[in-house]
C-alpha cells in the first residue's frame, strides 16, 4: 500500500524541505528520514529542542545547519525540559503582548537513549506538567552516536557493543521498554507509535499531535544501517517488516483509547525481519523462539487494548 509513494508524495506532502539535504547522516539513515517527514507535517511555524544524539550531531556542525526552523540543542537528557521552557517562554511573551499571538508548535526530539534512559525523568516531568508540545522519540534501538551501545530500547537478543553476543551471551537479555505505555500512564491526550516506512501514517500522527492541546508523544521507529549491520538500501524495508512481523506495532492512543493503525491479517515470519540484520546474526533457534513468544505476547496485548476500545 506504500509502494506508489513516488507517485503521490509530491501531491500529499509539501515540497519545502525544512530539514535540508547535505547533512552528515550515514547513507540510509532512518532517523534523518523521520525528521524530514516531521517537518513536512509541521511546517515552518515550529520550534525544535533537540537532545544530543545522532540527529543533533549530523545536522548542526557549525557553521552549517540543516534546520530551516528555529532549533536549540542544550544537552543529552533534557530535551523535554528545554522544550518546556521554550513553550513557557513563548506562552508568557504572547500573553504579555511582547510577540505576535501566534502559537508555534514546540517539538522535543531525542533518540531512544535520550528518551528511554537518561531523558526519562525530564520527559515524565514535561508530560505530567501538561506543556503543549510534541515529544518525538526516534528509536534506532541503541546509542548509535556513541558507538552502538545498548539502551533500554534495544530489543531482546540484539547484539550491541555493550550487549555483545558471546559464548555465554546471546546479546541483549532484557526486553524493550514500553515507551508508549509510559506516555499513556501520564494520561496525556495523544500517544502514537509510528514508522518511517509508513510516512503518511506518520505525518498524520504528527499533525494530530500538533493539533491536541497539551503534550503528545510519538515514538517513531527508524532503522540504523550502521548499528544494525544492514545494507543501507534496506532501511525502509526493514522498518516495514518490523511492523508486519509484530516487532513494532503501529497504533495510537487518543485520550486513553487504543487504535491499531495498520491492521495485519497475519504476522509475517519473524525470520524475514531478523535475517538481513547483523545484530541478530548470532541468534539460535531457541533464542528466536523466546523472542517470537515475547513479541507475539506484546502484540496481542496491544490488539486486546484496541479491541477493548471497539467493544
Amino acid at each position: 500500500m506504500i509502494e506508489p509513494f513516488n507517485v503521490y508524495a509530491a501531491r500529499l506532502l509539501p515540497s519545502q524541505e525544512l530539514f535540508a539535504q547535505g547533512h552528515r547522516a550515514c547513507q540510509g539513515c532512518g532517523p534523518a528520514l523521520a525528521l524530514r517527514y516531521l517537518l513536512k507535517a509541521l511546517g515552518p511555524e515550529t520550534i525544535v529542542a533537540n537532545a544530543t544524539g545522532c540527529m543533533e550531531i549530523i545536522s548542526s556542525s557549525w557553521p552549517e545547519t540543516a534546520w530551516g526552523v528555529p532549533w536549540i540543542h542544550v544537552a543529552f537528557e533534557n530535551a523535554a525540559a528545554v522544550a518546556s521552557g521554550v513553550e513557557a517562554g513563548s506562552k508568557a511573551l504572547r500573553r504579555k503582548g511582547r510577540i505576535p499571538d501566534k502559537k508555534p508548535t514546540v517539538v522535543a526530539i531525542a533518540g531512544d537513549g535520550g528518551t528511554f534512559d537518561i531523558g526519562l525523568q525530564a520527559l515524565s516531568g514535561a508530560l505530567e506538567r501538561g506543556h503543549d508540545f510534541i515529544y518525538l522519540c526516534y528509536d534506532n534501538e541503541a546509542y548509535m552516536n556513541t558507538g552502538i551501545q545498548r539502551s533500554s530500547g534495544t530489543p531482546f537478543g540484539a547484539a550491541t557493543t555493550t550487549s555483545p553476543a558471546g559464548s555465554k551471551s546471546f546479546g541483549q537479555k532484557t526486553w524493550k521498554k514500553d515507551l508508549a505505555a509510559i506516555g499513556v500512564a501520564h494520561h496525556i491526550p495523544y500517544v502514537a507509535t509510528a514508522s518511517i516506512a509508513y510516512p503518511f501514517d506518520f505525518v498524520e500522527k504528527v499533525k494530530k499531535a500538533a493539533a491536541v492541546e497539551g503534550p503528545a508523544l510519538i515514538h517513531v521507529f527508524a532503522p540504523c544501517p550502521t548499528g544494525w549491520r544492514t545494507p543501507s538500501n534496506l532501511t525502509v524495508r526493514l522498518a516495514r517488516l518490523a511492523v508486519q512481523t509484530g516487532m513494532f506495532p503501529l497504533y495510537e492512543v487518543e485520550n486513553g483509547k487504543y487504535h491499531m493503525s495498520v491492521d495485519l491479517p497475519f504476522l509475517k515470519p519473524l525470520d524475514d525481519y531478523l535475517k538481513p540484520q547483523g545484530r541478530y546474526r548470532h541468534l539460535t533457534k531457541d533464542v528466536i523462539a523466546v523472542l517470537k513468544k515475547g513479541i507475539d505476547q506484546r502484540y496481542n496485548e496491544i490488539l486486546e487494548k484496541c479491541e477493548a476500545n471497539h467493544e
Binding site: 557549525w62 536549540i72 533534557n78 525540559a81 521552557g85 513557557a88 517562554g89 508568557a92 525523568q121
Partner: protein, 397 residues
C-alpha cells in the same frame, strides 16, 4: 535624577522574600525551579505571586534542578526574561547545564543561597557549592546583606541582558545567615525599576520568522575560538557591571564596587572575606582598631569576572593578607579563594604574604572573636612569625 527617596519604602522582610519581590518588580516572564534540599522561600513566594496575579509569569515547577536550568535555557532562548533560584545539591545537579547556559549567551538570572555540599548531608551555609561552579562562565557576585541581595537582582538583569554582555548572572547570598533572616530593606519604586532595567530585548531568539540554530556542534576547528570569545566577553563585562553600579548609585544612592575596603588606611595586615561574614569581620576590625592594632578588611563582591586590578590596588600596601575561605579544596592547596588571590599576586614584585583560614564550613558559626583571632595570627606573621599552613578555624582534632 535622584528621585528615589520620596518613593522608596523601607520594609522589615525576609531576604529571600525581598529577592522574590525584586524578581516580580523586574517583571520576569518565566520562573522554572525545583526544591532540592530545603529551597529558599524565593521560588515559593514567586509561585504565590503568580497564583495571586501580582506577577504575570509562567511558573514551571520542574521535576529536578537539572531540568530547572534546562527549562531556563529554553525559556531564555525563546526571548523571555528568566529567573530561578537554587542551592547546594541543586546547584551541583545543574552543573552540566550551567556551562551551556553561558556558552549559549542566555541572560538567565539565578539566586544561589550558598550552602555546603553533601556528604555528610548538610543544609547549612558555606561556599562549597558555588566554588565548584567557579568556571562555568557566569557572572558571579557575592552579596553581604539583604539590601544588597535585593539591589543586585536588578543589577543582574540590567547587566546580563545588556547586548554587549548577554551572559547569565548568579547572585550568591549566604544560606540561612542571609536567606532566612529578616532585615530592613529599602524597596525601589516600580518606576525606578522600570527606568533601570526596562524590558528585555533579546538580540536573537527562537523565532519562526527568523530561524536560527542555537547550540551547534563545536568541531576542533572552532571550539577553541568560542571558548576564547566567551572568556573575552566575560572579562569585558566588568566595565558594564561597574557602569550599572554607578547608575544604581545615582538612582538609589547605594554604592557598590567590585572590591570593597574597610579601614585599610595604615593597616599592616588585611583580612579578606566574601559574602555575609564580611559584616561580622567589620565588627572585629572595629574592635581591633579601637585596641590600636593596624588591621583592615578587603571584601570581594565581584568573583567573576575576577577584578584583578581592583584587588591588587586594595591589598598592595599591606604586609600580610589573611584570606578567609568558606570552602575547603579537599586534598589541594587549602581554600579556593586564597589560591586565586595567590595566583593573582604571584607575578607582582610588591605583594603581601598570604595566610589562609578556612572558616564557617557546613554552618559552623564564625564569631567576631574568631575574626579577631585570625587577624592577630595574621599580624603575628607580619611581626616575623613563620607562615603557618592553612587553618581550619575551630576544628576539633
Amino acid at each position: 535624577m535622584a528621585k528615589a527617596a520620596p518613593q522608596s519604602l523601607r520594609k522589615g522582610i525576609e531576604v529571600s522574600i525581598s529577592m522574590a519581590e525584586a524578581a516580580m518588580q523586574a517583571n520576569v516572564d518565566v520562573v522554572a525551579a525545583y526544591p532540592i534540599t530545603p529551597q529558599t522561600h524565593i521560588v515559593e513566594h514567586l509561585s504565590e505571586l503568580v497564583a495571586d496575579g501580582r506577577l504575570d509569569a509562567e511558573f514551571v515547577p520542574v521535576e529536578s534542578e537539572h531540568s530547572a536550568m534546562s527549562a531556563c535555557c529554553g525559556s531564555s532562548a525563546s526571548g523571555a526574561r528568566t529567573y530561578t533560584a537554587t542551592s547546594s545539591q541543586g546547584l551541583a545537579l545543574m552543573h552540566e547545564i550551567l556551562y551551556i547556559a553561558s556558552a549559549l549567551r542566555l541572560p538567565i538570572v539565578m539566586a544561589v543561597a550558598n550552602r555546603a555540599l553533601s556528604g555528610p548531608i548538610s543544609i547549612w551555609n558555606d561556599h562549597g557549592d558555588i566554588m565548584a561552579e567557579r568556571d562555568t562562565g557566569w557572572i558571579q557576585v557575592f552579596v553581604e546583606n539583604g539590601q544588597e541581595a535585593y539591589d543586585m537582582t536588578f543589577h543582574a538583569f540590567r547587566v546580563a541582558e545588556d547586548h554587549g554582555v548577554l551572559l547569565p548572572y548568579m547572585i550568591n547570598f549566604d544560606g540561612f545567615i542571609l536567606s532566612h533572616v529578616i532585615e530592613p530593606i529599602v524597596y525601589w519604586s516600580q518606576e525606578l525599576v522600570d527606568q533601570y532595567i526596562g524590558l528585555y530585548e533579546p538580540m536573537l531568539r527562537l523565532d519562526t520568522k527568523n530561524p536560527i540554530t542555537m547550540g551547534p556542534v563545536g568541531i576542533p576547528d572552532i571550539y577553541l575560538e568560542t571558548r576564547k570569545a566567551h572568556d573575552f566577553v566575560l572579562r569585558e563585562s566588568k566595565a558594564t557591571i561597574v557602569k550599572a553600579w554607578d547608575e544604581m548609585e545615582k538612582l538609589v544612592g547605594r554604592r557598590y564596587r567590585p572590591i570593597e575596603t574597610y579601614k585599610t588606611d595604615g593597616a599592616r595586615i588585611l583580612l579578606l572575606t566574601m559574602g555575609g561574614v564580611s559584616e561580622t569581620a567589620m565588627t572585629a576590625v572595629d574592635a581591633l582598631r579601637e585596641a590600636g592594632l593596624p588591621v583592615g578588611l578587603v571584601r570581594i563582591r565581584l568573583w567573576r569576572p575576577f577584578p584583578f586590578e581592583e584587588l591588587y590596588e586594595a591589598v598592595k600596601d599591606c604586609e600580610v593578607l589573611g584570606v578567609v575561605d568558606r570552602c575547603l579544596s579537599t586534598g589541594g592547596p587549602g581554600g579556593p579563594v586564597a589560591s586565586e588571590i595567590k595566583g593573582a599576586l604571584y607575578h607582582k614584585d610588591k605583594r603581601p604574604k598570604v595566610v589562609e583560614f578556612i572558616a564557617g564550613i557546613g554552618g559552623r558559626d564564625v564569631r567576631v572573636e574568631d575574626f579577631q583571632d585570625m587577624a592577630k595570627k595574621t599580624l603575628s606573621v607580619a611581626d616575623g612569625a613563620p607562615l603557618p599552613p592553612f587553618e581550619l578555624v575551630g576544628v576539633r582534632e
